[in-house]
Amino acid sequence: MNAVEVRDLTVAYHESPVLWDVDLDIPQASLFAIIGPNGAGKSTLIKSALDLVPRSAGTVRIFGSSYRTVRKRVGYVPQRGSVDWDFPTDALDVVLMGTYGRLGWFRKPGRGERDAAMRCLETVGMADFATRQISQLSGGQQQRVFLARALAQDAELYFMDEPLAGVDATTERAVIEVLRELRSKGKTVVAVHHDLESAPTYFDHVALLNVKIIASGPIADVFTNENLQQTYGGRIAVLA
């Protein structure tokens, strides 16, 4: 069974389509990159899978069911720039938010949740920054806090929006290490990625997207010059 199956998905804002008739299969235990130029609909694809933006047409099945019913098995890392990092809170507190979903209404995070959140911070190499106000973290550290929060969700499938955008080398290594560990545990990671050069070393599957799916599948089959040229409209230099 695939982790995610997208069929005939169309999303439109104000009548112009952002995604057009997208079909996509994301196998379980894969590191799956979504690649395409700006405005290709990469974030929208993730958000529509998570029911965060309305679909004009089509379906998304996750583990063979609707997102609603398997919500607790799905984790999410939004774009770092989507929140106000000036919010009065510290790193550990943000990671704790990853446990809110399974806590449910009215229950407050307790000792168990705190320990779990701390372990997630350790996993991303941020344990020393647990009590640091989040605005005092570097961009890469903030990204790792977001990743730790997703780990605290303890999900089987993760959607990550540009987890490697604008991060330092340490963070990039830490994130990739975590992604590989997730895969080795049989978990699936779907990430929006922007760097063509590193994609084949980091990911095993890829979808090339530019409003429509240009090609998708194992990265060795899909990452051809022809496909990339088609995705980017001939605007990139041919890869060596």
Binding site: D90, V94, M97, K108
Partner: protein, 298 residues
């Protein structure tokens, strides 16, 4: 000592002080969330939108039932909120313009109703500035009790839903992805803001209540980087300005309470912006100067 005695035994001062302190607590707590969600102006719009409801309730019931005025205020504030949301959803007007539109339309309508009231005999006794700027000195025990009960309910909801409020305020997309009903939580926060406005109606009035919603939160943020501490400090600042304002206006000259409270609060905001421990302007300047000196000494 005599002020302390008056606070306890003087009926008027006690009511005024208690009413202003209750308002300070509830507006400090709810206003903190409004400030963090960058919705400082929403409180202002809802407060102005409450005016026509107060007038209609007055026309229907008169001054003898203060609770009716509160219900009228809440109802018309809520209609204002729905109107703002509809404008945002259905048109391409941005939120600032939507808030401004609703604020002025409702307030204009309220002022028209005020004129109608003024021409009636009951209105001459009531005094129109009571509706616009509150009349804390006229607070009776029944009103203070109602305000306290409303505030207690609002605060209990904040305690119960604290983690939901926090995650929705910080990262609403993530909150939605973990099945938190973001729109419902947003509506609850707006409704609680409305309760704070209703509580402030008799004390500082519809025009000035927005200061009570924005001031304590904005000041508290300067002293701490923790949400819980910020909310406590905001409640404290709200309470202190309420109490100080009440004492100043009742014991001293005949200055109306509402404006005095707002002035005291503004002074606290100014002090906080300058000297706040977490992000005060003065400390930041000193820190950067010290860093500069250390570097040039090398």
């Amino acid at each position: 000592m005599s002020i302390l005695q008056d606070l306890i035994f003087d009926y008027t001062l006690r009511n005024v002080a208690l009413g202003c302190m209750v308002l300070g607590i509830v507006s400090g707590v709810l206003g903190s969330f409004a400030v963090l969600r960058r919705q400082g102006l929403l409180g202002d719009a809802l407060a102005h939108a409450a005016l026509p409801g107060v007038c209609v309730a007055f026309i229907l019931t008169g001054l003898k039932t203060p609770v009716a005025l509160m219900i009228g205020a809440a109802a018309s504030g809520w209609i204002g909120l729905l109107a703002i949301n509809q404008l945002l959803r259905r048109s391409k007007i941005d939120s600032g313009a939507a808030l401004g539109t609703i604020l002025t339309v409702f307030f204009g309508f309220g002022v028209v109703l005020l004129t109608v009231i003024q021409k009636s005999s009951a209105g001459t006794q009531a005094g129109l500035d009571k509706f616009l700027f509150g009349q804390a000195a006229g607070l009776v025990e029944e009103q203070v009790l109602t305000m306290a009960i409303l505030s207690a309910i609002a605060l209990a909801i904040v305690v119960a839903l604290f983690k939901e409020f926090k995650v929705v305020s910080f990262d609403s997309e993530f909150a939605q992805s973990i099945a938190i009903p973001v729109h419902l939580i947003g509506s609850i926060l707006s409704f609680l803001l409305l309760i704070a406005i209703v509580v402030g109606l008799n004390t500082v009035g519809v025009v000035l209540v927005s200061a009570m919603l924005v001031g304590p939160g904005a000041a508290a943020r300067q002293w701490t980087d923790s949400l819980k501490t910020m909310i406590f400090i905001a409640a404290l600042i709200g309470t202190l300005s309420g109490l100080t304002g009440a004492i100043l206006s009742v014991t001293g000259s005949k200055i109306p309470t509402g404006p005095v409270i707002v002035l005291v609060l503004s002074a606290m905001v100014l002090i906080s912006v300058l000297f706040g421990k977490a992000r005060g302007v003065v400390w930041a300047a000193l820190r950067s100067r010290r860093r500069h000196l250390a570097e040039s000494a090398k």
